[in-house]
Symmetry: D3
Subunit: 137 residues, 6 copies
Amino acid sequence: MVYVTRIEHFNAAHKLWNHKWSVEKNKEVFGKCANENFHGHNYELHVTVKGTTHPDTGFVMNAKELGDIIKEQVIEKVDHCNLNMDVPFMEGRFTSAENFAIGIWNELAETITKSGSTLHCVKLIETKSIYVEYFGE
Amino acid sequence: MVYVTRIEHFNAAHKLWNHKWSVEKNKEVFGKCANENFHGHNYELHVTVKGTTHPDTGFVMNAKELGDIIKEQVIEKVDHCNLNMDVPFMEGRFTSAENFAIGIWNELAETITKSGSTLHCVKLIETKSIYVEYFGE
Amino acid sequence: MVYVTRIEHFNAAHKLWNHKWSVEKNKEVFGKCANENFHGHNYELHVTVKGTTHPDTGFVMNAKELGDIIKEQVIEKVDHCNLNMDVPFMEGRFTSAENFAIGIWNELAETITKSGSTLHCVKLIETKSIYVEYFGE
Amino acid sequence: MVYVTRIEHFNAAHKLWNHKWSVEKNKEVFGKCANENFHGHNYELHVTVKGTTHPDTGFVMNAKELGDIIKEQVIEKVDHCNLNMDVPFMEGRFTSAENFAIGIWNELAETITKSGSTLHCVKLIETKSIYVEYFGE
Amino acid sequence: MVYVTRIEHFNAAHKLWNHKWSVEKNKEVFGKCANENFHGHNYELHVTVKGTTHPDTGFVMNAKELGDIIKEQVIEKVDHCNLNMDVPFMEGRFTSAENFAIGIWNELAETITKSGSTLHCVKLIETKSIYVEYFGE
Amino acid sequence: MVYVTRIEHFNAAHKLWNHKWSVEKNKEVFGKCANENFHGHNYELHVTVKGTTHPDTGFVMNAKELGDIIKEQVIEKVDHCNLNMDVPFMEGRFTSAENFAIGIWNELAETITKSGSTLHCVKLIETKSIYVEYFGE
């Protein structure tokens, strides 16, 4: 069993906001992240798959194929977007890094399984100070 | 003459948009950066001052004082903001990295001069692929 | 279960020294790290907590709250300090990165549990070449 | 149980090539990595050992000793080499990052066990976009 | 006048070798870099242009256009190549980082001038320890 | 003219302290940096030389030779040392990053001139937030 990680980057705007709460309550809980006109990040995404190496290639999974899946399933849906307004798979969900990593896992898992490998971890680096990891359960 | 650089970070949303142009023309020139609902970045800001060292401290400028000036003059006005909507010193200006660096220079120069040092360079890193530098002329 | 990591930085002096040993034995085992007048590091600290996401916020734990706990329980006690002389929780312990990570875990675990989350890992990066990780057992 | 990681760097040339396949098939599967005249990388190697701390030193393993083992068992055999032509432990194996990490594990495990510690993970960063991890099984 | 830098990455193999010298003399002067079977690097390339900002865009130069020029004029000619065997613009030249940066400048300068901007600097990072800069004279 | 930069790392302890001032005045001006028992840093040192390329090597200066000069003239005198107590070339000087960069320049300039190249810049990165540059005048 070897673990292979591919790193991709994208930029997006978002805000943290609970529609059931008042403006004051949102500012109190989410601080500057609740600015109504949004802020944004350069997100760094690490997608890790695991498996055994193929005897013909020495690969667990062709890194180019993994990159193509991430671009098609995730990057094209989120890059230069507003996570609160433009991204179907985040509709109705808070755009916390935690929820976003879970959403990204859900977009990737089935396609990676079909390709013959297994998704192991989605790691999402939001800023130089915060990152989250999700292992599917 | 020694050059001292202080690095600060902030997050912001923006879009590249020319109000005199059609939507199509904006998309053609600015590509994904013209998404109407904004995108965003983790900006890294390097502010360089120059001068001679003080005989009592060995400092060109106390780094804490330089940090306080950057926070007061720049970070508090832009962090977790929308550069197109929330930042007075960018009003009426395209929010390209170039213009933003010039805007930041203008916010900093006078206060740094008053502190007895000289502003030398504003370097603004927008993504892992693009940064701009402005030397005041 | 999602894992959330907050990164903080601090600077400290220390030396590796076993008081039961001669100067020669200390130099032999610890090399340059046994310089009697100390050396120092820019430490980078990664604190990882785990838990489920709150339905009201999408957070496992508010990153600001986690940052405040780290600052109060660790950074204020070690930043710009001498680990061999100034830090109560390292008193009587070798200031190896391993021991220091265990010491930091002990300062953090209870407060993080009280906050409703669970401490998962303390990762301490001492130099560009060495880091240690402690998972509490 | 504490985990200690030492990071080392080396440079090497390689190509991805299956001798049983035609040139066309190699280009189709491996893309630019199948350039017959080789390409190369600055590899970053993280070697993680685990164990309990020694009462006399506070170390799981002396980082200098770990560095010496990595240099002797790995770096001297691969640095500034061609992985397809110059490295005995990769002979007859595809030089994918996956296989290379397994090969490095095999060079290290016994010597680290003899030193009284336990090898936990070999992480090999091939480019800014790809890294692999191997835990020995 | 604002300076805009675009960063690109590529991988290549090379060796340092003077055909007029004996093997021994090559090994003596170039050390491990004279391994006859080549070694390689992940090169990081910073291309800086300078100019005034356009009143319609706020750009000195569209970063996408600059990226396209670098990809067409440099990356496609060197990525996953052997600098000593595969790169026409390095033919007959030692593949030192210095010479390579000059060669890259020569590939870029005219096209960037035609685009209406001015090439200011080519910075080439060969390893974590060495980089070179060339300003065209 | 090409500029070549070599990067080296070292660790050191220091404190900012003006012996003519009271403890209170030192704490007021230097803040936490005036902790009497010292703190420390992982310093990153960039040494830039300039010159023309040699026709026999393509080098401005052999990077290994430059590395050896830096190690002999600087690293061996400061690594794992206390800048206020152990470093002859800093005796009687405040150990600010500015003064330290000037001191390093003075240790390097003559030897580099003798080697046939010219020292251009000493850049000293003290923390993730502060670096200084000195060009010799």
